[in-house]
């Protein structure tokens, strides 16, 4: 497959380029945790300003941060040639994502229109640069199930961005866009089920069989799932606008697609060839279990209107999807990507005799990753609990903060090992 065939040192960007994204992301996870401790009302209603700031710290500051970094690493491999102006694209998108996310969080927390104005310029500009570069690479890429998933994910990112910009213009007081409720629903749907889930799905086709040594996904599922999910997202937005009665049917189909992916992944993982303990595998399993829990929570809301109308329902969905699924899978991937890149650049730079440099597995101590996983798991359970019992919020935020900090320390340990052996970052 193209992803494997093209892994060459010449095409790969310097380590510093994606690494800055990976080392920034845990700090936003820490900021999100700090927000929960400082303002526990962030878990009281999804419309609370603190909840909106928290959501965007997670989605932009943590998830998008890692996903952009990973794509900047991966796109040259997919396209078979270097990204146009890779260093400049990385620098601009990283700086504007960091500052833009901070501005957006400030805007929500302080209800400050000027902060929304700054966020619009930074996030709009930064993402535009990234999207332009990614589009060029993806246009050149050879089609395959992974490339198709990434294409639809990036397209969803563009839709999410445009809707988000329109909503921010409203908050900045510059424009009063029509159909605000639909725009909000579509912004969340394209962001979470489009950009985040489609990217995870596209990457899963490749990563789960390769790194977890499982049989391949069923070919028909791999061929159709991403396209079906994207089509359902379009239908979802159209139904909201023109035919609200059809929304539950589209939602049911979306839930079915999510279920199919989670069940297929868990089944493959249970058929691994060698049953060795692996933190990334545990993170993926937690992620898939959280997706299943999302479907159950959604199903309950279809039968109990009181639950569907409660403040807790959307918050629990958010905690399960963002914390339980997305943050988990991304953490698991960071524990593969960063040690792999550290090992890859070391062996290529030093042309070292094997044995004179650490192996990939030695880059981060297994024990520490395992400890961080347990903290993250505890944080997820406490966060879900805090949605129903608010007095748990401070404990949940504190454990999440510890988990974020340990994630950062663990990633830094690989970087320290890399530079200790004489690795160069740029």
């Amino acid at each position: 497959m193209s992803l494997q065939a093209g892994l060459s040192f010449e095409q790969a960007p310097p380590f510093a380029l994606p690494l800055r994204f990976f080392l920034t992301a845990p700090l936003f996870l820490l900021a999100a945790a700090g927000l929960i401790v400082w303002a526990p009302e962030a878990l009281a209603s999804r419309w609370a300003p603190q909840a909106l700031a928290l959501t965007h710290a997670l989605t932009l500051g943590f998830l998008a941060m890692v996903m952009l970094g990973a794509l900047l690493q991966m796109l040259p491999v997919v396209a078979g040639e270097s990204l146009p102006a890779a260093r400049r694209v990385a620098w601009i998108s990283h700086v504007s994502l960091v500052l833009g996310t901070l501005a957006l969080m400030t805007g929500f927390l302080m209800a400050e229109p000027a902060a929304f104005g700054i966020a619009i310029l930074l996030l709009g500009g930064g993402f535009a640069v990234f999207l332009a570069a990614a589009s060029i690479s993806l246009a050149r890429a050879v089609a395959g199930v992974t490339v198709n998933g990434i294409r639809l994910a990036v397209l969803s990112l563009a839709v999410t961005l445009l809707l988000g910009l329109a909503l921010a213009l409203l908050r900045a007081g510059w424009w009063f866009p029509p159909a605000i409720e639909t725009a909000i629903a579509a912004h969340a749907a394209f962001g979470l089920l489009g950009w985040v889930l489609l990217l995870v799905i596209g990457v899963a086709w490749q990563v789960v069989p390769m790194f977890q040594i499982t049989p391949p996904y069923p070919p028909r599922l791999a061929r159709w799932l991403a396209a079906a999910l994207f089509a359902l997202l379009l239908l979802h937005a159209a139904a909201l606008l023109f035919f609200p009665a059809a929304v539950p049917i589209v939602d049911a189909a979306l839930a079915g697609a999510i279920l199919a992916f989670a069940v297929a992944t868990l089944r493959l993982q249970s058929r691994r060839r060698r049953k060795l303990a692996d933190v990334t595998l545990d993170y993926w399993r937690l992620g898939m279990a959280s997706l299943l829990a999302c479907v159950v929570v959604w199903l309950a809301a279809q039968f109990w209107p009181a639950w569907a109308d409660s403040d807790a329902y959307p918050l629990l969905l958010g905690v399960l999807f963002l914390g339980g699924f997305a943050v988990s899978v991304v953490c698991g991937m960071l524990y593969k990507i960063v040690p792999f890149l550290a090992w890859f650049h070391l062996q290529a730079q030093l042309q070292a005799k094997a044995g004179s440099i650490p192996t990939m597995k030695e880059m981060i101590a297994e024990r520490r990753m395992r400890g961080q996983f347990r903290l993250h798991l505890a944080a997820c359970v406490l966060l879900a609990g805090a949605v129903l019992w608010p007095q748990l919020a401070i404990a949940a935020g504190s454990v999440l903060a510890l988990s974020a900090l340990l994630l950062w320390v663990n990633l830094l340990s690989a970087v320290r090992r890399f530079s200790g052996y004489g690795g160069r970052f740029s």
Partner: protein
């Protein structure tokens, strides 16, 4: 005096990337003249090929009936 051809078997089936590559690079360092490596793997190791070429080795890949691969690796200069 002829040097007996010896094959070093590296069974990397079911190992997680990049362990198979690490094992092969480790074995290359131990290789003595006349020796070659027989690598068994559950998938084709595309990323390994440019590294082998860079280090002056050639390879021959064969797919087995069970879908796994056998890759023979020897110094580019040696015959057979």
């Amino acid at each position: 005096m002829s040097i007996p051809t010896q094959e070093i078997l590296v069974d990397a089936r079911g190992l997680e990337p990049p362990e198979p590559m690490e094992k092969v690079l480790q074995t290359l360092d131990l290789l003595r003249p006349g020796q070659s490596i027989r690598l068994l793997l559950h998938r084709e190791p595309f990323p390994l090929y440019p590294l082998l070429a860079e280090r002056g080795y050639r390879h021959a890949t064969r797919m087995e009936a069970d879908g796994s691969y056998v890759i023979l690796i020897r110094p580019a200069g040696e015959n057979r």
